[in-house]
């Protein structure tokens, strides 16, 4: 019993390490886009990702052919949406750093935009993941695209490199 358990633990650890080595960079990028933090200073994104990865590790033996990447991404999105909802109610709402061009968007707009365009998740699946109707997802997506590509008249403070985006 014990040796078998130990060998399963080792096997899981090795597989998981290989998975994170392959997908970690992309997932961290996604998480950083969600939290709208600067690429080299992203404590929230790291915490979010480590949580999602730990959850994936814990359900590793029960994946049964499911794509672990998808599992992690789903948990990441749900966790982010949940965290935002709860932080809204409290007084302590951490403002996203203005370095990211995404900081202008609302958390939900960021979530939809990142899932749709950065992760390439289909509209229906995004809607199902977030529990929204599909046309609502389309609306949010259009609004977020407009807000990102056509910045408002007043100059946003300390936003560099946004104007470089072709519209």
């Amino acid at each position: 019993m014990r040796p078998r358990q130990a060998s399963r633990d080792l096997c899981r650890a090795l597989e998981f390490e290989a998975y994170v080595a392959g997908a970690g960079g992309r997932l961290l990028h996604t998480a950083t886009l969600l939290t709208a933090e600067a690429p080299d200073d992203n404590p929230h994104a790291r915490r979010l990702l480590i949580r999602a990865l730990a959850h994936t590790y814990a359900s590793w033996d029960r994946l049964r052919g499911d794509d672990p990447y998808e599992v992690t991404r789903r948990y990441l999105a749900i966790r982010f949406a949940h965290g935002v909802r709860h932080r809204h109610r409290g007084l302590l709402r951490s403002r996203p750093l203005p370095q990211s061009p995404l900081a202008r968007l609302s958390p939900r707009e960021r979530l939809v935009l990142v899932l749709r365009f950065h992760e390439g998740v289909a509209e229906e699946r995004t809607a199902a993941l977030l529990g929204l109707p599909a046309d609502r997802v389309r609306t949010i997506c259009h609004r977020a695209t407009a807000a990102l590509l056509d910045p408002p008249r007043e100059p946003a403070p300390a936003v560099g490199g946004v104007e470089a985006a072709p519209s």
Binding site: E17, V20, L28, I50, A54, Y57, A58, L102
Partner: protein, 79 residues
């Protein structure tokens, strides 16, 4: 669509550097979750076992299936 492509490019620039301890940290936390789940499962089984033992002991001592001795005499009819 051209705007979609622009958004994609904007999102794709400057990926963050991956911290080297990411996998180890996540695995540590994941292992902790697994241990916690195993503990909870064990506690639940122990609870179930204790309940089964308690019910068995009670049933063997109280014998609820045995009809209690009648305390009243049936009335005399048909004389």
């Amino acid at each position: 669509m051209n705007r979609e492509e622009a958004v994609r490019r904007l999102l794709g620039q400057s990926p963050p550097p991956v911290p080297p301890e990411l996998s180890a940290q996540a695995a540590r936390r994941g292992a902790r979750i697994l241990r916690r789940r195993a503990r909870a499962r064990r506690a639940m089984w122990l609870l179930v076992l204790a309940a089964v033992v308690a019910v068995t002991v009670w049933a063997l001592t109280a014998r609820p299936w045995v009809e209690p001795p009648s305390e009243t005499t049936p009335s005399l009819t048909g004389w």
